[in-house]
C-alpha cells in the first residue's frame, strides 16, 4: 500500500489483506476525512484492477445501482423496425437484449471479465434499509436475475469495500457478513508522514506545525472536525503562499480550507488562534510531537 502513496498502519494492512484472502467484504467506519474511501482506491491500484464505485444516497434504489434499459435507444429501434414484419414478441426480445442494457455499478462489478474488480460501496449508511437488504442479497451470491435476460453470475466475486460515516446503524446481518475496520484520526507521526508523502514540497517544520495544529483542533468542540484530507489541503495552500512556517497571517488567510462551518470559524478565530500560535512558536518538530501527543492523551 505504501507504494501507492497511502501511509498505512498494521490495522489497515492486516484487515485489507484478510479481506482479499478470505474474499470477504470489509466494512470501514471512521470520522469524515480519515481516508476510508482511499483504502479501496489503493487496494484496486495494488491489485492492478479496476475500481467500481457506487455512491449511496437517500432514495437510491435497486435499478439505479444495478441496471437500467436504454430507453432512447429502444425507442429509436422500434421506430426503425416499424416497417419490418417482425412479430411483437421478436421485437420485445430484441429491445430487451444486452445491447440495450445500461450496466450500473453493481452489475458492472458482477458481470466483469478478467480480473475481479474492487467494488467500493461508499457511504452505505446514506442509503435506506431496503437498499441495504437488497445489497445483502447481491453480496451473498454475486448473481442477479434480470427478468428479460436471465441470471448473470460473477465468474469471480469482486473485492468489496463498504464505507460508513455512522449516520445510522447498519443491520446486524450486513455487519456480520463483513470484516470490520475502524480508522481513527491518525497519530501525529502518521499525519506528518501523510503530509510529507502527499505534499512533497512542504518543509519539515511546516508539516509538523500543521499536524500539531490539527491534533489540537480535533480536541475542540467543533461541529465538523477536520480530517486528514483537510490537513493535506491546508498544507498545500500554505505551500502555495510560499511559507516555510506558520505565522498569523498565513493562518488567517488559509483556515477556510479546513473549517467548513461558520460557527466553527468564529469559534476558532475567537478562542484558538492566539493560543495556538503561542503554543507552536519556537518549537521544533520533536517539541511539536510532544505537544500533540500530550494533548491527545489528555
Amino acid at each position: 500500500m505504501e507504494a501507492q502513496g497511502y501511509v498505512t498502519d498494521r490495522e489497515v494492512a492486516t484487515t485489507v489483506f484478510l479481506a482479499s484472502e478470505l474474499r470477504m467484504p470489509v466494512l470501514i467506519e471512521g470520522h469524515a476525512g480519515v481516508g476510508k474511501t482511499e483504502v479501496a482506491k489503493v487496494l484496486a491500484a495494488s491489485l492492478e484492477t479496476e475500481l467500481i464505485r457506487l455512491q449511496c444516497y437517500e432514495g437510491l434504489d435497486a435499478y439505479t445501482a444495478l441496471y437500467e434499459w436504454n430507453y432512447p435507444k429502444q425507442m429509436l429501434w422500434i421506430r426503425l423496425a416499424e416497417q419490418e414484419s417482425l412479430s411483437l414478441d421478436a421485437k420485445e426480445t430484441h429491445i430487451f437484449g444486452s445491447d440495450f442494457l445500461l450496466k450500473r455499478p453493481l452489475l458492472q462489478a458482477i458481470d466483469h471479465g478478467g480480473r475481479p474488480p474492487v467494488l467500493l460501496i461508499d457511504e452505505i449508511d446514506r442509503a435506506d434499509e431496503e437498499f441495504e437488504a437488497f445489497l445483502l442479497e447481491v453480496l451473498s451470491d454475486f448473481q442477479v436475475t434480470i427478468p428479460e435476460l436471465g441470471t448473470i453470475r460473477a465468474e469471480e466475486p469482486p473485492f468489496v469495500v463498504l464505507t460508513s460515516n455512522r449516520t445510522r446503524e447498519l443491520s446486524d446481518a450486513l455487519k456480520r457478513r463483513c470484516l470490520y475496520l475502524w480508522i481513527d484520526y491518525p497519530s501525529f507521526d502518521k499525519e506528518l508522514s501523510i503530509i510529507n508523502v502527499k505534499v512533497p514540497g512542504v518543509s519539515a517544520l511546516l508539516g509538523a506545525q500543521v499536524a500539531a495544529a490539527m491534533a489540537s483542533l480535533r480536541q475542540m468542540r467543533l461541529s465538523k472536525s477536520p480530517g486528514v484530507a483537510e490537513s493535506i489541503k491546508w498544507a498545500l495552500s500554505l505551500l502555495a503562499t510560499g511559507r516555510k512556517q506558520l505565522d498569523r497571517k498565513g493562518l488567517e488567510e488559509t483556515f477556510g480550507v479546513f473549517l467548513k462551518d461558520r460557527d466553527d470559524i468564529e469559534a476558532v478565530r475567537g478562542l484558538w488562534l492566539d493560543s495556538l500560535l503561542q503554543s507552536l512558536e519556537g518549537r521544533d518538530v520533536d517539541a511539536l510531537r510532544e505537544l500533540a501527543t500530550a494533548r491527545s492523551d489528555a
Binding site: 500500500m1 494492512a13 492486516t14 471512521g30 432514495g59 430507453y71 435506506d128 446503524e169
Partner: protein
C-alpha cells in the same frame, strides 16, 4: 506491496488453537459482542493466513473478524488481553459471564411470581403497572409515530394517476402500438416514514420516568421507520441497537445494565454537544428531534444554549417533552429549561397517556 508480515506457507492453526478460538468466541458472545458461531470458523480461516506467532497480527486478524462496530473495539481488546494474555480461570470477565448465566437460570425458575414487568413497576410511574395500560400506552405511541411519519420518500411506486411518467413501463406498453406511447405509465413518490431522533434523559432526577420513557422510545423506534435513539445522564450513549430486539423487557433491562449511570447529575448541554459532534449527520432537514428531559441541567447553561441553537438549526422540528410540565408545572421551567425553550418548536408534558394522545392530535 501492501501485504503485512505474512507468508502463505504458514502452518495451519493447530486443533488446540482452533479450540481456544472457539472458546474465545463463546466468551465474546457471553460478553455481548456480536460474534456468532459462524464467525469462529472464519476466525480460524483468518488465522491460517497470518503469522500466528506474531501477537499483533494475531490480535488484528481476530479483531477484524470478530468485531462489527467501533463501540466493540475497546471491549474486544480488554477481553483479548484477559483471554490470551491473562489467566483464563481467574479472569473477572469470565466469572461475570458465568454469574450472569446462573442468574438467568434462577430468574427463570422464579418466573411464576416474578416478572421483569413488576420489577419495572418498582419505579413509581403508576400508570404503566397493568398490562392493559401498557398496551394502551403502546397503541398511543404508535399513533404518534405514524403522525410524525407522513413524509414522502424519494422512492417511486407505480401509480394510476398523478406523479411522474415511468419511462420504463411506458416504453414497454408502447410496443403494443408499434412504438407510439398512447398510454403513459406513471409512478409517484411513496409515502414513507420520516427520520426521527430521540434523545432521552435517564439521569437521577428523571428516575421516576426513565423506565417509562425508555418504553416510549422503544415504541417509537418500532412504530416508525428510521429512528435513532440515544440516552444520556452525564454522558451520551447511542442505544438504537438495543431496541432492535423483539422484547421490550430485555431491551430495557440490558440498557439498565450496560448503559445507565444512575448516580451522576445531568449534563444536558454537554450531552447535546456530544450528540452534535459525533452524530451530526443523523440530523438533516427532514429529521424530527425529540428530547425527553426535565431540563434540570447541572452543567454549563451557556453550553446548553449554544447546542440547542445548533440542533434547532439543523432539524426540521424540535420537540421537547418534559414530564414535570404535567406533574409539577411550577418546577417545569427551571433555569436550564428556560434557556432551551426558545429553540423548541413544540413543548409538551408527556407524563401520562392522556397528554401523549393530546400531543398526537397536535401533530
Amino acid at each position: 506491496m501492501w501485504t503485512p508480515s505474512v507468508s502463505l506457507q504458514l502452518p495451519a492453526p493447530t486443533p488446540e488453537l482452533a479450540e481456544r478460538v472457539l472458546a474465545f468466541c463463546r466468551l465474546l458472545r457471553q460478553e455481548g459482542l456480536a460474534a456468532t458461531p459462524a464467525h469462529s470458523g472464519v476466525a480460524v480461516e483468518a488465522l491460517r493466513r497470518v503469522d500466528v506467532g506474531d501477537r499483533e497480527d494475531f490480535r488484528l486478524a481476530l479483531r477484524a473478524v470478530l468485531t462489527s462496530g467501533a463501540d466493540e473495539l475497546e471491549h474486544f481488546d480488554e477481553l483479548f488481553r484477559l483471554f490470551w494474555e491473562g489467566s483464563l480461570e481467574t479472569s473477572e470477565a469470565l466469572q461475570r459471564a458465568e454469574e450472569r448465566e446462573s442468574e438467568a437460570v434462577a430468574a427463570e425458575d422464579a418466573s411464576a411470581q416474578y416478572s421483569a414487568m413488576e420489577a419495572l413497576a418498582h419505579k413509581d410511574f403508576a400508570d404503566v403497572q397493568t398490562e392493559e395500560d401498557r398496551e394502551a400506552l403502546e397503541r398511543a405511541l404508535r399513533t404518534i409515530a405514524r403522525k410524525l411519519a407522513a413524509r414522502r420518500s424519494r422512492r417511486m411506486r407505480p401509480a394510476q394517476h398523478g406523479g411522474r411518467v415511468d419511462v420504463r413501463r411506458t416504453i414497454r406498453r408502447s410496443l403494443r402500438f408499434g412504438g407510439t406511447a398512447l398510454e403513459l405509465a406513471r409512478r409517484r413518490r411513496d409515502v414513507r416514514k420520516t427520520r426521527l431522533v430521540l434523545i432521552c434523559d435517564v439521569s437521577r432526577s428523571m428516575d421516576q420516568y426513565s423506565r417509562f420513557l425508555l418504553q416510549f422510545v422503544y415504541a417509537f423506534q418500532r412504530g416508525a421507520g428510521q429512528v435513532e435513539s440515544f440516552v444520556f445522564g452525564t454522558r451520551l450513549t447511542r442505544v438504537t441497537r438495543y431496541f432492535r430486539q423483539p422484547s421490550i423487557r430485555s431491551a430495557v433491562d440490558q440498557i439498565e445494565q450496560e448503559v445507565l449511570d444512575w448516580s451522576g447529575g445531568t449534563r444536558i448541554g454537554a450531552s447535546l454537544a456530544a450528540f452534535n459532534r459525533d452524530y451530526r449527520a443523523a440530523v438533516d432537514r427532514s429529521t424530527t428531534v425529540i428530547v425527553l428531559s426535565d431540563g434540570l441541567d447541572t452543567g454549563d447553561l451557556d453550553v446548553l444554549d449554544e447546542q440547542m441553537a445548533l440542533l434547532s438549526r439543523r432539524a426540521r422540528r424540535l420537540i421537547w417533552l418534559n414530564p414535570l410540565l404535567g406533574s409539577s408545572p411550577d418546577h417545569a421551567l427551571g433555569r436550564g429549561m428556560r434557556r432551551a425553550l426558545p429553540y423548541v418548536d413544540t413543548f409538551a408534558p408527556g407524563h401520562n397517556l392522556a397528554t401523549l394522545e393530546a400531543l398526537a392530535k397536535v401533530l
